[in-house]
Point group: C2
Chain length 356, copies 2
DNA sequence: TTGTATGCGTTATCAA
DNA sequence: TTGATAACGCATACAA
């Protein structure tokens, strides 16, 4: 059903009014209670009446009114739990802004948001936090560590009736109801496409990844290489080194890399520690010759863009990640229907100094 | 007031429950009706009681419940009118998707959306459509033609109690309550920054603008030139030609331009007619030498990106333009408060083949 | 100047 | 297996 009236060239295409339970009840000659039982599948309805009601519902394309539901649901005080390993990572500030914005929009539906922020990626710590949250929450949004223990926990929660939405990072073999985050492979492909354009197809690259254990990091590298293989035979990748997302380590590793391969003129930072790479470029006196391509838009990265060391960075709509995840959770809690998509993929956005 | 509970390092920061009119009434020892009169400034309240109620409202940070308002308001059936000069312009398809999405979210609040799509930019036509809409709508979202007659009409509507939100294009000296759209100057700056990076600071450019009469087009050219002057002394702009957004005309003009200046290696399309520019590149046998930078992501532009003629395009979140405009309109209608910002600026997003 | 009653659409409880 | 009724928070018409 659609409330809108679209007028094209003066002809009205449609104009319909919403249907209520009361109307259906009247049409079927039953009470609102009975219709409610059918709509929400509570049982205890004579098969024939149920069939009749379903038919009318179908015909009139009944869709429950959210505002009405909201008011009625209010007493139950539903709870959305959120768990992020965001402590100390600037990227998540925007994610949290998005969460807050969505929370603002749904708060009148009596739905609380309960956010836990952790530091680091230890699976025991994450499990413990999940067990805390499951006591009070009706749905959990979190950024899973890629380990089977976590997947098992998700399935456990699911079976207990607590749906899980993964955010920022997905996990395989789990019953999470959907994923909200970026396409890391595309992110890697974008980096390579960009590097190809900036270097006019001829470059020597050092890749600094966080950890070869992390799925997202690997996906980016794979995406990068796929474009490399397809389009750029004159772009050479000399090395791929692990930095563990640490600035100091990145600085050391990048410096050594530059010394080993003096012809490197691009550093591709797959994840954190970007500032370390930039420092290595400065340390070795290569500001004008070596360019850095990376992800996210932290204050430090913006600084490095102003210095001309980082020439471009790729963002993945952090605000939207938080906003969408909460809105989808809300929809699921209030309507009870499964999300329309298995994955809600945000965009990989290229930023240069001029469109920061 | 905030419903959320944030736990950082195990410490709860806050946990509050929402306040209702009923609670305030009880606390003040008055009836709900009286509180309602104060909240909605309907008058007829003894100054002292009003003061007391306001004090409690302040203390408890009362914020009306949208779901409750929605249900009560429902009988009035508020109407949002939308007017776009979008017929035949692919860009607006996404804007309309955003409008539909927002409409979906607010339809249960009893608010209808009434959308009029026109072809072309004649001010008489636009005035007529506005006069149609004003008969039935409580708020109008539209894309104004930059003419004082339209500004006057906006003020007229405003004075009649019909607030106006401008979308995609803004207009000066008018009482529109806010603008939702892109920053054209930044869009131009982004194009130049990108061109600078791709050409490694050395290029010869032909600029194809739509019309020097259109404010947005000019802003882009100004933004482009500002970056040019600041950063790129080796980028030369040979010509700036008007194409009136027409494909055939763009093709003709661009072809002539290329013949006049055989050293041109970049065409910067400020607005429509991009395909014409690409055809000119093909016609003159310059596919490998001349690159096009443009705006928006239509099917034709994607084609030209695959061919390698368009190397990058800049999008301005068309979906968000539609979505945000309607959501802001909704907020304004339901809460009666002015929008928080004067301008809601969407991002200029750079797209290349890999992150389309 | 203030209070009361009713209804918006849905859910939940109780009685039939 | 059903129907009636009372909330939820707000707006409004009407009564006091």
């Amino acid at each position: 059903m659609c409330l809108s009236t679209i007028v094209r060239n003066g002809r009205k295409e449609d104009a319909i009014v919403a249907v209520t339970i009361k109307q259906i009840a009247d049409l079927c000659g039953v009470s609102r209670g009975t219709v409610d039982r059918v709509v929400n599948q509570r049982g205890n309805v004579k098969p024939e009446t149920e069939k009749a009601i379903l038919k009318i519902m179908e015909e009139l394309n009944y869709q429950p009114n959210l505002a009405g539901k909201a008011l009625a649901i209010r007493k139950k005080s539903l709870n959305i739990g959120i768990l992020l390993a965001s402590q100390g990572i600037a990227f998540f500030d925007e994610v949290i802004s998005g969460i807050k914005k969505a929370e603002e929009e749904i708060k009148d539906y009596g739905i609380q948001v309960n956010m836990k922020l952790q530091r680091g990626y230890r699976k025991e710590q994450q499990l413990k936090a999940l067990e805390e949250l499951e006591k009070t929450c009706n749905l959990i949004i979190f950024q899973p560590i890629n380990h089977s223990v976590i997947a098992d926990k998700i399935n456990d929660l699911h079976d207990k009736g607590i749906p899980v939405i993964t955010i920022n990072t997905d996990i395989e073999h789990s019953k999470r109801i959907c994923y909200v985050g970026s396409d890391y492979f595309e992110g890697g492909a974008t980096a390579c496409g960009l590097l190809g354009l900036l270097s006019q197809g001829k470059a020597t690259v050092g890749i600094l990844t966080g950890s070869v254990q992390v799925w997202g990091h690997n996906q980016r590298v794979l995406g990068f290489k796929s474009v490399l293989d397809k389009k750029y035979s004159d772009i050479v990748v000399h090395e791929l080194a692990e930095t563990n997302d640490d600035v100091a380590e990145t600085r050391r590793i990048a410096t050594a890399m530059i010394h080993r391969h003096p012809d490197i003129n691009y550093l591709y930072c797959v994840t954190g520690g970007v500032v370390g790479a930039c420092q290595a470029v400065e340390d070795t006196g290569n500001i004008d010759r070596i360019h850095v391509i990376c992800y996210d838009k932290t204050a430090e990265i913006v600084e490095m863009m102003k210095k001309g060391i980082v020439v471009a960075t790729i963002e993945q709509e952090p605000f939207q990640q938080g906003y969408q995840a909460v809105k989808i959770a809300f929809q699921h809690l209030v309507t009870g229907t499964a999300p329309q998509k298995d994955q809600y993929i945000v965009k990989n956005e290229i930023r240069i100094l001029e469109n920061l």
